[in-house]
């Protein structure tokens, strides 16, 4: 069997079909000249790749970042914590998505997202996901459940590691509607996976409560589904924050 240059080129690119590949490998074992031709194809591929690879680590010019982010991007960056728009596989929990979509489809989210634009909203949608933004994103990233200002607009409940290793936190939005939810770290953002109206007539009383006790059943169920082991204690929570909530 003879092999064309196209065969050898496709082999070097890992694109040869199984049968031809096996035949070629057998032929290469017996024919050093053929093996050398293949080696040259492979070396060329690596050489071309290496020649352009440094472009990836160059700083991206500001004008390109501005073109991608669009007008007012500086302002947006302030209100919405940067996020990975497409969830990585480990964050694509279909059942969560369904659950969140279900809850969110109701009256809960509308008022928050459609609020007059002057006030930064605690939630933002992106690529079909609901992300924490504004005060909520800041609280999820920075506020420790062991040391919460009574006047803070967000109350963090428990922080825990999900079964896939990522960090998640429950929260209550104290202002207005007393919504409770659960968010998980997704890249540099917090994806809100469950959101529900707090069942206790809560914030009206004004007193500080353990947030976990105020969690609506839907949020509590999500927590039970996701949690691996016990919630984080104060020290592990502080350490997680220290590491930017990276698993």
């Amino acid at each position: 069997m003879t092999f064309s240059d196209e065969n050898l080129s496709a082999y070097a690119d890992g694109e040869l079909d199984e049968a031809t590949r096996a035949a070629l490998e057998a032929a290469m074992a017996a024919d050093p000249v053929l093996a050398r031709r293949v080696a040259r194809h492979r070396a060329l591929r690596a050489r071309v790749q290496d020649a352009f690879a440094p472009v990836l680590t160059e700083p991206v010019p500001e004008r390109l970042l501005a073109a991608a982010r669009g007008p007012g991007s500086a302002e947006r960056a302030d209100n919405v914590i940067a996020f990975q728009a497409r969830p990585r596989p480990r964050w694509s929990w279909p059942q969560w998505g369904a659950m969140a979509a279900c809850l969110i489809a109701g009256l809960l989210l509308g008022p928050l997202l459609l609020r007059p634009s002057a006030a930064p909203t605690p939630l933002a949608t992106s690529g079909g996901r609901v992300l924490a933004s504004g005060v909520l994103a800041r609280a999820l990233s920075q506020q420790l459940s062991s040391a919460q200002p009574v006047s803070a607009p967000v109350e963090i409940g428990v922080s825990f590691r999900a079964r896939d290793g990522g960090y998640c936190r429950t929260f209550v939005l104290r202002e207005t509607q007393s919504l409770a939810g659960l968010a998980c770290r997704a890249g540099t953002a917090w994806q809100v996976v469950t959101l529900a109206q707090s069942t206790t007539p809560g914030a009206a009383g004004g007193g500080y409560r353990q947030a976990a006790s105020a969690l609506p059943p839907a949020v509590a169920r999500t927590l039970d589904d996701l949690i691996a082991g016990e919630p984080l204690d104060a020290a592990s929570e502080a350490a997680a924050r220290e590491h930017g909530w990276n698993p």
Binding site: S4, E15, R40, Q49, E58, L64
Partner: protein, 166 residues
């Protein structure tokens, strides 16, 4: 898909788009112009991106069109060779930039357009033949033969790299 989500994904993709454009346009400034054009076109046509389609492939396709448009315009104006750029880079190389990269980039820049596209998509960006053929809107067989011819031409221009013999 929603424009906001697209914007964030584009930011993440910018380094790869710049690399792909560099393989096509050679001159870094021209390459970044192409990326900018492609990003603006993508945002203007965000509604055409299917939610399940890979963004990188879509963007490479848009960038390819922008490059082809630019080549046509340049052809009408008379071809401008980037001799000045090469001289600058050789000067940079004296300060440690790898000479082999310059040689390889120059060789790629001398390939005919269609071969250069195949090299940029498969060798530089690491796409499969199927993905690359789809972006170039040609059958896989056509892509395969363009790649083989491009490799021949590159080998002829570059010879064996130092220390890679044997």
């Amino acid at each position: 898909m929603p424009v906001d989500g697209l914007r964030e994904e584009l930011v993440t993709l910018l380094p790869r788009l710049r690399r792909f454009a560099r393989a096509l346009a050679r001159d870094p400034h021209d390459a970044d112009d192409l990326v900018q054009t492609a990003v603006e076109r993508a945002l203007a046509h965000a509604g055409q991106l299917r939610a399940d389609a890979p963004l990188a492939g879509w963007m490479f396709g848009i960038l390819r069109h922008a490059w082809i448009d630019e080549q046509r315009a340049r052809g009408r104006r008379g071809r401008v060779l980037a001799a000045g750029v090469a001289a600058e880079e050789v000067a940079d190389a004296a300060h440690g930039a790898p000479l082999d990269s310059i040689a390889v980039q120059d060789a790629v820049a001398r390939l005919p357009e269609e071969q250069r596209l195949a090299v940029a998509l498969v060798l530089v960006e690491g796409l499969s033949y199927k993905e690359a053929a789809h972006i170039m809107a040609v059958p896989i067989g056509t892509l395969t033969s363009r790649l083989a011819r491009a490799r021949d031409a590159l080998q002829a221009m570059l010879g064996e790299p130092d220390g890679a013999g044997g």
